[in-house]
């Protein structure tokens, strides 16, 4: 995606809107994905003001009501309002997605940087990462959750452990290529401290690929959280996460499929938005890779 001459002509257009429109036209996936994600963040923040009631309030007399004007998404088998539960669930999913992405990127990037610069560390760390990567990520998370108390923090930690090897590999790969670059060799030759080389020459170059990877990690972490909750190894049942709502709807799916439907759709849309954003960022930040994928 090369920079077209319109970018130079643009300043003549007086309104700010012109610039935004051009950006949207040039990167439609970033705009759509970012828009969806922004909407979900807004829902998460303003959940209490969007016509919701207490998402955990029981009302057995009103159980299993179909979606109607009173209960927009219906009620579950304990009479809890599904519209409120689904909207509050956005908070859980986004929290997990963002936390896992930030944590696994910080840990993975740190290990990857050291590993790419120290042959001894590299030899050991990469064998460990190869081993961890040969265990399907979701099984690592399941195994860790099965032995810890159900809590949101533990879910985040378990998914992070599963995601770290991928970030480490990515960052290490970037570091190894950069090390061969003349400007890095020059810095080494002139006796620059390793920490300075890492910070000034290496880290800035890892930001773009790590940012793209971060979006995909957030998306997959949200799916993993839902899967963990769905099979009963995730967030405690008292927290209205999408996975929990769907797990509760499982037993009554044949008579009340809407219970599974609404959180499922919300999860899919959110993950779709983040994936689109990631695809768009990759196209915008790394045109070389974008052509290939």
């Amino acid at each position: 995606m090369s920079v077209t001459p319109t970018a130079v002509v643009l300043p003549i257009v007086p309104a700010r809107r012109g610039r935004v429109a051009t950006y949207v036209r040039r990167h439609p996936t970033i705009a759509i994905g970012g828009g969806i994600l922004g909407l979900m963040i807004a829902i998460a923040i303003f959940a209490p003001f969007l016509g919701t009631v207490d998402p955990v309030a029981l009302a057995p007399a009103k159980r299993l009501r179909w979606p109607s004007a009173d209960y927009w998404f219906g009620t579950d088998m304990f009479g809890r309002d599904l519209y409120s539960r689904t909207l509050y669930g956005t908070r859980v999913s986004l929290t997990v997605g963002v936390s896992v992405a930030l944590l696994s990127i910080s840990v993975g990037a740190a290990i990857g940087l050291v590993s790419g610069f120290n042959r001894w560390v590299d030899a050991i760390v990469m064998r460990v990462m190869d081993g961890l990567m040969s265990i399907p990520a979701i099984l690592i998370a399941i195994a860790l959750m099965a032995l810890s108390r159900a809590s949101l923090q533990n879910v985040v930690l378990a998914i992070t452990v599963a995601e770290v090897p991928r970030v480490t590999r990515l960052v290490r790969g970037v570091v190894l290529t950069l090390r061969e670059q003349p400007y890095v060799e020059a810095a080494i030759a002139s006796g620059t401290q390793t920490i300075h080389i890492l910070w000034r020459h290496i880290v800035p170059n890892t930001i773009a690929p790590v940012l793209v990877q971060g979006t995909f990690i957030a998306a997959s972490a949200m799916i993993t959280e839902a899967i963990l909750s769905f099979i009963g190894a995730g967030t405690p049942p008292t927290i209205p996460s999408w996975g929990n709502v769907m797990a509760e709807g499982r037993a009554v799916f044949q008579v009340a499929y809407y219970i599974v439907l609404f959180p499922g759709i919300m999860l899919s849309i959110t993950v779709l938005g983040i994936n689109l954003l990631g695809d768009g960022l990759r196209d915008a930040l790394d045109p070389r890779l974008a052509r290939r994928l």
Partner: protein, 313 residues
């Protein structure tokens, strides 16, 4: 060539060693006494002591690991806490449904995804390409259980075309066997085929811009011969690689798919073991799944030499 094969096989040993250490360490990574966690909140001191003795937790760590690894090498995965049966036996009983589900998913996904990827690359930039890419992005975004429930609603509850759930052994009739596998395979295969289609397209796009493709077209070779004989053959390695790596998605998805469709396979065994905190089973299933995953990727690596005779390691 032989040296390459031997080297690749030997390289799986450290990988499996790390997996083994990790699976062993799982029990000790969690804060607190694993026996108390396995026993649950209502356990008595006697229950906890019993689990302690059963898992050998009262011995030094290195003795525990040595015993565990030694038994492992002899095919002993331990004893289930809940059923008191050997884990290997429990796993053996559940292999068939999982194998049927994953193999059917694998075959269908590859058969659908590779042609889609080829067509998308061939018609790059057209609406066909866009539809295929849209399918790929959607495939990454719709979680397996959401698709599973949509399918159950559309094909079972609303139209009564297919059985809602369950599993029928092929010995009890081929048609019921297949009918029970249709929906689980589609649900499980969506993300996998999305991945394969995407890589196929990317790899084919790379190859189609090469000079020898233009030469093949210039000498009047029909399109199908150019695409399959010249392009796909040269685009094969990334595709085969992703087919191997993507198996991790299938293994993860099996756990969910079997839960939704009530299929009595390894995934269901895992979920039941989690709910009962039956740790030896969880460890055993992870080891088996990881070993299968490592083997599949070993085969993929070995296939490089066959797919591309230029590769000499």
């Amino acid at each position: 060539m032989l040296a390459y094969i031997v080297r690749r096989i030997l390289a799986t040993i450290p990988v499996m060693a790390v997996v083994t250490v990790f699976v062993f360490a799982l029990l000790h990574l969690s804060p607190g006494d694993p026996a108390a966690i396995i026993a649950g909140d209502t356990a008595t001191a006697a229950d906890i002591a019993r689990i302690h003795a059963k898992l050998g937790l009262d011995q030094p760590l290195y003795v525990q690991f040595a015993t565990w690894a030694w038994n492992l090498l002899h095919g002993d995965l331990g004893i289930s806490i809940f059923t008191n049966l050997p884990v290997l036996k429990l796993i053996g009983q559940r292999v068939e449904p999982t194998l049927a589900l994953t193999v059917s998913t694998l075959v269908v996904s590859i058969a659908v995804a590779i042609p889609l990827g080829i067509v998308a690359a061939w018609k790059a930039g057209t609406w066909i390409d866009r539809v295929v890419m849209m399918f790929a992005v959607l495939g990454f975004s719709v979680p397996v259980f959401v698709l599973a429930y949509l399918l159950i609603y559309a094909l079972s509850i609303a139209t009564k075309l297919l059985p809602v759930q369950g599993y029928v052994s092929p010995g009890d009739g081929l048609w019921p066997f297949l009918a029970h596998l249709v929906m689980p395979s589609i649900a499980l295969g969506l993300v996998y085929s999305a991945l394969i289609a995407r890589i196929t397209r990317a790899s084919m796009l790379d190859v189609l811009s090469q000079d020898y493709i233009r030469t093949a077209q210039a000498k009047g070779l029909p399109n199908d011969k150019v695409l399959i004989g010249h392009a796909l053959r040269n685009a094969a390695i990334p595709i085969v690689t992703i087919i191997g790596i993507g198996v991790a998605l299938l293994i993860g998805g099996v756990v969910v798919t079997e839960t939704v469709f009530a299929i009595p396979g390894l995934g269901r065994l895992t979920v039941d073991a989690i709910l009962r905190r039956d740790y030896p089973i969880i460890q055993g299933v992870i080891l088996v799944f990881s070993a299968v995953y490592v083997m599949i990727n070993l085969l993929v690596d070995l296939s490089y030499a066959v797919l591309d005779p230029r590769i000499r390691y």
